[in-house]
C-alpha cells in the first residue's frame, strides 16, 4: 500500500518536474492560442475557400467548381461594391484629415480645457452601433420637425427623406461612422504630435516659416507613419462595413442604396442559406482588401525602411 503511494507520488513529482521545465512551460502557456488558432482561424480560413467551390444544402454537399464565382459578378454585387468603395473612400478621407486638424488644435498651447475636449470627442466611440443607429434614425427622421430637417429648414432647404435617397443614405452611413471613430483617431494623431521635438518649430519660426510651411515640412512628415496606420485600418474597416448599414435598413434597403459587400454576404449566405455562394463573396472581399491595402502601402511608401 505504502509502496504504491510512494511510486504514485514519485510519478507525480516527475510530472511536476516535466511540466515545470523551461522547455515545456512556454508551450503550456501558448497552447490555448495554438488550439484556438487551429480551430477558430486556420480551419475556417481553409474551409472558406473549400466552401466557395461547393453548393451546400442540409446533408448534401456537392462540388460545383467555379459556378459560385461565375454568379458573383452580377448587378447587385456591383451595387454593393460601389457603395462599399464610396463609403471606404469618404470615411478614410474624413477620418484622416479632420482628426489631424483637431489633434493639432488640441495639442496647441493656446487651447484651454484640453482634457475635457479630448474626452468629449472620445465618448462617441463607447456607443454601440445599434444605439448610435437608434439616435441617428430619430435625428434624421423623415418628419420636418426632426433635427436634421430643422437645420435644413433654417437655411431654407426643403426637408429630406434621409433613408430613401441614394446620396443621403451614403451621408447617413459615413456620418455615423465618422461620429463614432473621430475621437479615437484624434488620439492616435495626438500621440504622434507629442513625439515631435518642439525645438524644430522654434527654429523654423526663427527662419520665418509660416503656419502652413511648418505644417507641411515638420508636422506632416512626422505624422506619416500614423497617417499610414490610420488609413490602413480605415480601408479595412471600410470594406468590412455592415452594421452602419444594418441599423438604418436591416438587410434590405430601397434600391439597395445601403447594401454593402458584407451585407450581401450576410444576405446570401445566412438569409438565403446559400453558404457556398456566401463563402465565395467572402473570398472576393478578402482579395479586394488584400489588393487595395497592398496598393495603398506601396503608394505611401510604407515598405521603405527609412520611413518607418
Amino acid at each position: 500500500m505504502s509502496a504504491t503511494s510512494a511510486t504514485s507520488k514519485n510519478k507525480q513529482n516527475k510530472l511536476m518536474k516535466f511540466l515545470n521545465s523551461k522547455k515545456v512551460v512556454p508551450y503550456v502557456f501558448v497552447s490555448p492560442f495554438i488550439l484556438s488558432f487551429l480551430v477558430l482561424t486556420l480551419y475556417p480560413t481553409i474551409q472558406a475557400f473549400i466552401m466557395s467551390f461547393q453548393r451546400i444544402l442540409p446533408g448534401q454537399v456537392t462540388f460545383v467548381g467555379m459556378s459560385n464565382y461565375d454568379r458573383i459578378f452580377n448587378p447587385t454585387f456591383y451595387k454593393a461594391l460601389q457603395n462599399t468603395t464610396v463609403y471606404m473612400i469618404l470615411t478614410v478621407f474624413i477620418l484622416v484629415t479632420v482628426p489631424i486638424l483637431l489633434a493639432i488644435f488640441l495639442d496647441s498651447k493656446l487651447t484651454k480645457f484640453k482634457t475635457i475636449f479630448r474626452s468629449a470627442l472620445f465618448i462617441p466611440s463607447l456607443t454601440s452601433v445599434i444605439v448610435a443607429g437608434v439616435i441617428f434614425r430619430l435625428v434624421f427622421a423623415e418628419s420636418d420637425t426632426a433635427v436634421a430637417n430643422q437645420v435644413l429648414g433654417f437655411f431654407g432647404v426643403d426637408a429630406v427623406n434621409w433613408r430613401y435617397n441614394s446620396w443621403s443614405a451614403m451621408f447617413l452611413m459615413v456620418t455615423l461612422a465618422s461620429w463614432r471613430w473621430m475621437g479615437v483617431n484624434v488620439l492616435y494623431f495626438l500621440a504622434g504630435l507629442q513625439n515631435i521635438p518642439k525645438e524644430l518649430y522654434e527654429s523654423a519660426e526663427i527662419d520665418g516659416a509660416n503656419v502652413f510651411q511648418k505644417f507641411k515640412n515638420i508636422t506632416l512628415p512626422f505624422l506619416k507613419p500614423i497617417i499610414i496606420f490610420v488609413s490602413t485600418i480605415s480601408i479595412i474597416a471600410g470594406f468590412r462595413m455592415f452594421e452602419e448599414s444594418y441599423v438604418f435598413w436591416e438587410t434590405s434597403s430601397p434600391g439597395n442604396i445601403g447594401l454593402t459587400l458584407v451585407g450581401y454576404l450576410y444576405q446570401q449566405g445566412i438569409q438565403q442559406n446559400d453558404m457556398g455562394f456566401g463563402a465565395a463573396i467572402g473570398v472576393v472581399i478578402l482579395i479586394i482588401i488584400f489588393v487595395v491595402s497592398l496598393i495603398q502601402l506601396l503608394l505611401t511608401g510604407a515598405f521603405k525602411r527609412s520611413d518607418m
Binding site: 477558430l40 480551419y43 472558406a48 496647441s108 466611440s125 445599434i130 444605439v131 443607429g133 449566405g269 467572402g282
Partner: protein, 278 residues
Amino acid sequence: MYKNLKVYKWIINLSLTIVCLIALFPLISLIISSFRPSSELIRRGITFNVNISEFSLSNYNYIFVQAPEYWQWYMNSLIISGLTIVLSLFFSSIVGYALAVYNFKGRNLIFLFVLFIIMVPFEILMLPLYQLMVDLQLINTYTSIMLPLIVAPIAVFFFRQYALGLPKELMDAARIDGCTEYGIFFRIMMPLMLPSFAAMAILQGLTSWNNFLWPLLVVRSNDMFTLPIGLASLLTPYGNNYDILIAGSVMTVIPIVILFIFFQRYFVAGLTTGGVKG
C-alpha cells in the same frame, strides 16, 4: 504678433467647442428624448422644439414594469461580457507573456500567426465558423457567442508588448528561491502587468458589450439575445417599441460612459491598442 495669437486662440477654442458639442449632441439628445412620450418621438423624431411640459418617466416606467425581456438581454450581456473579460484576459495574457519572456522553438512562427489573425477580416471566417457551431450544436448558447473573442490576438499582442518591458532579473531571483514557472507568472509578473490587464479588460468588455454581427448569426431565441441584438430586433419598419428602444439605449450606453469617466486612462490605452508599435 500678439494680436494674431489672440485671434488664433479664439479660432481654436471656438472650433473645438463647436466640434465637441456636435460630438456630444447625439447622446445628450438621446437622454433628453428618453423623457418624451414615445408616440410623439416616432411622429416628430429628435427635435429642437421639445415640449418640457410633456416630460415624464413613462418610458422608464414601461421598461422596468412591462419589459422583462429587456432585463433578460441585460443579464445575458452582463454575463457574456463578464465571462469574456475573465477568460480572454487569462488566455491572452499567458500567451503574450510566454511570447515575451521565453525563448522557445516556434516562438516567431506563433507571433507571426498572431499578426496573421489580426489581419484576417472576421467576416471571411464567419460562415465556416457558423457552420462549425451548427455541427457542434452550440448555436444559441453563451459559448458560441463568446468563442471568437476568447483568445484575442490584439490582446495577445498588447500583453506581449507590455511583458517585454518586465524586469527579467526578478524571474531568476524567484527561480533561485524555488518558485515554479507558473508561480513566477501568477505571483510576480501578473501583478506587475496589472495596468495592461485593466486596458484589455476594457477593450474586451466593450467589444463584447457592443458585439453585433457574430451574435446576430448564432443567437436564435429572444431569451438568448444580447442588448445590441435585442435592441436591433425592435428596429422593425412596423415597430412602435420606441419606449423600450429609447430608454433601453440610454441604459445600455450610460453605464459605459460613467465607467469611462472614472477609468479614462485605461479606456484610452485599451481602445487605441492598434496604435502600439512593435
